[in-house]
Structures are given as C-alpha cells and as structure tokens.
C-alpha cells in the first residue's frame, strides 16, 4: 500500500507530466484560457488516460511481447488510443449525453495529446505491473488536471492585468508556466 502512495505522490507532484516531463503542452496552452474548458479537458484526460493505460498494457503484454512484435509498439499504441477515443466518444454520445455535452469537444483533441501516449510508453518503460500502471495512469492524469486548472486560474487573472504588448498571449503564458513549474520543482526533494 505504501508503494502505491509513493507512486501516486511522485506521479502527481514530483514528476508532474506537464511541468516536469514536458508532455501534453499543446492542450496545456491551448485550453487554459478559461476555467471551464480547463476543467473539461482535465476530466476528459483522466477518463481516457486510465483506459488507455490499461489497454496498452494488455496489448503490450499479451500481443506484442508474446508474438515478438515490440517494434510495432508505436503504431499499435497510437491506433489503440485513436480507436479508444473514437469509441468513448460514440459511447458517451449514445448512453450518457450529459457527460458527452461536457467532455465531447475535448475528446478528439486527446488523440494527439502526447501526455496520453507518453504515459502509456512510460508505463511500459518502467516495467510497471498492471495495477501499478493503472495507478500511475490515474495519478499522471490527475497531475495534468491539477496543473491545468491551476494554470487556468492564473491565466484568467492575467487577462485583467496590463501586459506589455510583445509579451501578450502565448508569451506571457509560457513565462507563467515557467513560474508554476518552478513551484513544482520544489517537490523534487520530497522522495
């Protein structure tokens, strides 16, 4: 139990997927202008990433390794993720329209979110067991949402501030992200 706790803390705070591993930065800057979109994107990532983590782990263990096809990993993973996203989208549209209304527009974006693919690859690389990869997928996704929501909060305040013209928009966004990353950097001494 203690191991899982350490794993969760290190995935959420110390190795934060956005600010320490630099994965998933395009949606990070793209969907953080408003709090609502940030929450939607965060939830959609948690939802998809846990499923993708489980699915790619199973595919890797029982298909790729068994038949000695590990060199096809990249293609298989991206197709699995793309198919999964499509399936989740259709499933939600049909059976849980309320959730679809909230997450719908973010789902297609997730296919090209490198955080999802990145975590799946990290799970394989670190040789996590099935339960460990489930836990780490969830924790990485939670870390993603945490950073995204914090960042969106800061960014909404920046809109009200007077920013020098050349720094507007993405530029000030990146510098703010740098400061946020600095705060997460402080967690490095924890474990």
């Amino acid at each position: 139990m203690g191991d899982y706790f350490v794993l969760i803390i290190s995935c959420i705070l110390i190795n934060n997927i956005l600010l320490a591993q630099y994965l998933g930065n395009c949606p990070f800057l793209g969907t953080s202008k408003k709090m609502e979109t940030a929450i939607g994107m965060g939830m959609a990532v948690i939802f998809v990433l846990v499923m993708a983590g489980a699915l790619t782990w199973i595919a890797n263990k029982f298909i790729l390794i068994k038949y000695d096809l590990v060199f096809l990993q990249t293609i298989v993973f991206i197709l699995l993720i793309a198919a999964l996203v499509q399936f989740v989208e259709m499933f939600l549209k049909k059976s849980i329209p309320a959730l679809y209304a909230g997450l719908g527009i973010f789902l297609p974006l997730i296919t090209t979110n490198c955080a999802v693919m990145g975590v799946c690859l990290i799970n394989i690389k670190e040789e996590y067991t099935f339960v460990e990869s489930l836990v780490s997928s969830f924790a990485y996704a939670a870390g993603f949402s945490l950073a995204l929501i914090l960042f969106a909060g800061v960014r909404e305040r920046i809109l009200l501030a007077r920013v020098p013209k050349p720094l507007l928009d993405t530029s000030i966004g990146l510098i703010t992200a740098g400061l946020l990353s600095l705060t997460f950097f402080a967690f490095k001494g924890m474990v």
Binding site: Y22, G30, L72, T74, L167, L174, L179
Partner: protein, 201 residues
C-alpha cells in the same frame, strides 16, 4: 499555382516557423533543448518524418476518403516514425538513448498532422516536399537556437559531438535554472516575446 516553390520553402523558416508562430509541437521543443545536440537530432528526425509523410499523403490524397483521412494520416506518420526509431537504434544509439520516449512521441506531434491536413492533402507532391523541408528546417533551427541559449547560459559551453566549446569566460557562473524544466518555459516565452518585437517592424 499562386505561390512559388521558394515561397513554400521559406515560409517555414520565418513567417510560419513552427514552434513560435504556430505554437505547435511544444513538447519536444521544451524537453529536448537542454543541449544543442539534442535539438539538432530531434529536428533531423522530425524533418525526415515530415518530408516522407508529406510525400506519401500528397501521393495518396486522391485515394484517401475524407472521412477517414485523420486515421490514414496517423498510420502513415506512425510508419515513418517506426522507421526512424529503428534506424536511430542502429546508427545513432547514444542519441537514441538521449531522446528517449520523444522519438515514438513524434507520432503525436501536432506539426505533422497539421501539415498533412493543412497542406499535403490539398497540394501536389513537389510543393509538399518543399513545405515539409521548410517546416522541418525551421523546426530544427528554432530547437537549436533555444538549445544554444539554454546550454550557453546554463553550463557556459556548448557540446557538439562530445567536444565542449567554451563560450563564456572562466569567471562565468553557470545559471543552472536555464537547463532545468522551469528555464525551458521562461526561455521559450522570452524568445516568443523577442520574435513579436522583431516581427512588428
């Protein structure tokens, strides 16, 4: 054809230079610019994949039905990424280790899908090659520039092919912040700011 091939090529170098103007493909831009060498390696790998996928997409553009085009693009891109991955493992193993999971992650780099969708699917083979080359070289240049700034200020010298070249004098105290994660964000933000300043003239 409205634009000449030269224009297709040069637009990737300044007017639409990928990580700055389009704000696409940020993850490798941030993660792999600790040193100039990594930047160049990543840029070269991406340029290769981009040119090849642009060629194939534009050759097949009449065959791919509109509804499944995204899936088709992804398969094409993933194929070339696998080729690069295996080739690097064989011929440039130290670089392969340094770039790590960012090589398979070229698949999800938005620049590739973006160019396939916005350019190669609508244009002929020759313009697509030039577009891919221009974008790829623009990407490589910006990665190396960012890498150079971070490496010079962060360590005081530039290492190219295992040979350190001293840039700063011995009295220079390395500004370690630059080679860590927060430095990447701040440095890229400041570079964007400088580009905005220059671009207005």
């Amino acid at each position: 054809m409205a634009k000449s091939l030269v224009q297709e090529f040069t637009k990737g170098l300044w007017k639409e230079i990928p990580p700055f103007r389009l704000v696409l493909g940020l993850c490798p831009t941030l993660a792999l610019t600790k040193t100039v060498e990594n930047g160049i390696g990543m840029g070269a790998a991406l340029t290769f994949v981009l040119v090849c996928s642009n060629i194939l997409v534009s050759v097949c553009r009449k065959l791919i039905p509109g509804k499944v085009r995204i899936a088709a693009f992804i398969i094409i891109i993933a194929t070339f990424v696998t080729i690069v991955e295996l080739a690097m493992q064989k011929f440039a193993y130290p670089l392969f280790l340094k770039l790590g999971i960012f090589i398979p992650l070229i698949v999800v780099n938005c620049i590739l899908l973006g160019r396939a969708e916005a350019f190669a699917y609508k244009n002929g083979v020759i313009p697509s090659i030039f577009d891919g080359l221009g974008m790829g070289i623009g990407f490589t240049l910006s990665l190396s520039a960012l890498g150079a700034i971070r490496e010079i200020f962060g360590t005081g010298f530039i290492t190219i092919w295992e040979k350190p070249i001293h840039v700063m004098s011995d009295a220079f105290v390395p500004f370690a912040f630059m080679v860590e994660a927060p430095g990447a964000f701040v440095c890229l933000g400041l570079m964007l700011c400088v580009m905005n300043l220059l671009g207005k003239k």
